[in-house]
Amino acid sequence: MRIILLAILLLYAEISVGAPLIYWCATNPEEIELAKRLVKEWNHSHSDTTIKLQPVPAGASSEEVLLAAIVAKTNPDIYSNMLPAMLNKFVKADSLLRLDGLKNFANETEARIGTTILIDYRSPDGHYHQLPWKLNPVMLVYNIDLFQQLKIKPPRTYDEFWTAAKKLTADTDGNGRIDRWAMSPSTTVLWWQRLYDFLPFYMAATNGRSLLNQGQAAFNNVSAIAVMDFFQKGFARGYFPKSGMVSNLFAQQKVGMTIVGPWALKMFERSMPKKFNFKTIPIPVPDGHTGPAYTYGDPKSFVVFKNTQHPEAAWEFVKFMTSKKADKLLLDITGQIPVRKGLLTDVYYKEVFVRRKDLVPFASQVPFTKPGDNSEHIVEILDFLGQQYEAAAVYGTIPAKKAIENAANHVEHIYRNW
């Protein structure tokens, strides 16, 4: 009997004290490499609170996987791939730890991020449940060699974009079929695709406005119609292919421009059949637009789950992962931009930017980059917006104005019914 009791006590001690904290990172090779390196370093100096690294299990989206894990109570202690747009759902479910209740949160965030940017990440209840980690501005990348060869000016406005698109779209092998296009925006209705086409263009056209305002659609306006009309024209004029091509068309030089974040640069280099030079510029804006071209930042944050046995240790690990040194590694290994003020002026990061000049435009864009809306209905809203985008922009079956009206009305419908 004594032996059994002792065994139970030892097991309990193992579970509550010695068990490692589980940390889930994103699944791309660069982020896994970064996480492995930092976790190894942490475990070397923290034998009492070790971390067990695991990339997010496969699924349609990491958000779906995370939800399933919470239901099954198999969620990690720490997660670094939280999309702030989805955060409210987890806050409502009371599954996230309030970080602003932890030691040094204010000092830590002030030093790294600053209050002005941090406020964009506040939960509706006024507290902070996430620590912004990276903000990757979605921008326009163009093929310099092709642009020079065709004597095209990099586009800043829609008019300039059409001039470039007309020259880029061509039948290069003379078989009577178009085989090179201006750009290849997604034609699918997957909700997150709108984060890489409609949303950055909408933010660029509106000086960074978001889609929602206190449970109401804030995008039933001329700017949204202009953006939808922009994509409609691109598909209708044949500048964007409607096909189901799944290969990387930019790396294959089958399109002259693409909309991506900094994470894609290394991927381009890896998948280029023939090397070429490319450059990054802000998202084009409607003609006559004044002010900077804002964009969407594909943000990802650190969160700690409420059911962790070691909240303080988890918070310490999050601080370690977002330290000055870790941010430098994030920049260097993954080519992604940490949410850190003065990144371009800080001498500590200078040598990375000297080596990786392609990251400078992305880092310069950060002050004009927004994390997007935080709503528990964001997936459904973007999904319906995607259906309207498909109908209006890709197939031209409804006018752009009607598509925006439908999407805005559906937002009201979603909030009313669900």
């Binding site: 349609a60 779906e64 939800l67 399933a68 919470i70 239901v71 759902k89 987890f90 409502k92 479910a93 599954s95 079929r177 085989d179 034609t187 699918t188 209705v189 997957l190 909700w191 292919p241 409607k242 096909s243 189901g244 091509m245 799944v246 290969s247 528990e376 997936v379 459904e380 999904d383 259906q387 498909e390 109908a391 890709v394 197939y395 079956t397 019914n417 669900w418």
Partner: protein, 290 residues
């Protein structure tokens, strides 16, 4: 000798794994789904009782009705195509053909390959600009067909793919049915001067009626469960033309976390399948077998 009580215990012991399986993986999920039908539940907060609101929403949800129409359209192409092609190949494979074993195995191969892998393969084949099918068509002067991006073509394209994937299974069913027909029946028909077509029309086809019923019912069940093909190849597009009921149900459940509404969709689908299968059974099973 074993006593009655001991026999009963042994029986319970042997049947218990299945009973447990049934309770855990069938009765409990069905019971829980019934509970969800009158609730709203987003997986992570407590379910909220809503009475018949999910049903009312279903009646006015045009996306559900579109998904149902798409699924029926898929079935209208898939079932006849499956039967005609599988039957034709089974008839051919029943004959003393050279390399018969090889062909039988080859036709069955897609059945055992993962659905997702097959779907990705066909997605590449169907690609408008760089797909193999359009390349072959271009060799004979036919313009590129937008297989998966034209709302009018996408569902038939998926039906062709699904038919190819399941063909082997139905060939086996038909083949078993054909080989079970007694040879003297054919010999007698030959002596009476029947042609090959007469043999097929008046002997093979009528005697295959039980197999036909099985194939129709199984194709219907499989067709109503259409999911992986549109999920991987088109995401339900273009313009919702390949959105099946199961894909819509999955989207409501796992993309939007409307678990109660998804359960309601599930029950509606089960009801529709029941009506379809009973109707098929009534018509195909009404005459006596030979």
């Amino acid at each position: 000798m074993q006593s009655e009580q001991s026999k009963s215990k042994t029986g319970i012991l042997f049947t218990s794994p299945y009973v447990i399986h049934l309770l855990v993986f069938f009765l409990y999920p069905v019971g829980f789904s019934l509970y969800l039908v009158v609730h709203r539940w987003d997986l992570i907060t407590d379910p909220k009782y809503v009475g018949l609101r999910n049903f009312k929403y279903l009646m006015s949800d045009h996306l559900f009705w579109q998904a149902l129409a798409n699924t029926l359209y898929f079935l209208a192409i898939h079932i006849p195509l499956q039967i005609i092609v599988a039957l034709a190949l089974a008839v051919a494979l029943a004959k003393p053909l050279k390399g018969r074993v090889f062909f039988r195995a080859t036709f069955f191969l897609p059945v055992v390959i993962s659905g997702a892998a097959v779907t990705i393969l066909w997605q590449r084949l169907y690609s408008t600009e760089d797909g193999l099918i359009n390349y072959v068509l271009s060799l004979v002067g036919i313009d590129a067909v937008p297989w998966l991006t034209d709302p009018g073509i996408a569902m038939p394209a998926i039906a062709i793919m699904a038919t190819w994937k399941n063909l082997g299974l139905y060939i086996v069913f038909f083949l078993a049915g054909i080989l079970a027909i007694p040879q003297p029946v054919y010999e007698a028909a030959k002596m009476e001067g029947a042609s090959s077509w007469d043999e097929f029309r008046y002997i093979t086809l009528p005697l295959l009626k039980p197999t036909m019923l099985l194939v129709v019912v199984m194709s219907t069940l499989g067709g109503f469960n259409l999911f992986i093909e549109p999920y991987v190849m088109t995401g339900g597009g273009p313009l919702g033309s390949t959105m099946s009921v199961v894909l819509y149900m999955y989207k409501q459940a796992f993309s939007f976390q409307h678990m109660g509404y998804a359960a309601t969709l599930g029950f509606a689908l089960a009801l529709i399948i029941m009506v379809c299968v009973f109707t098929q059974k009534k018509y195909l099973d009404s005459e006596r077998y030979y």
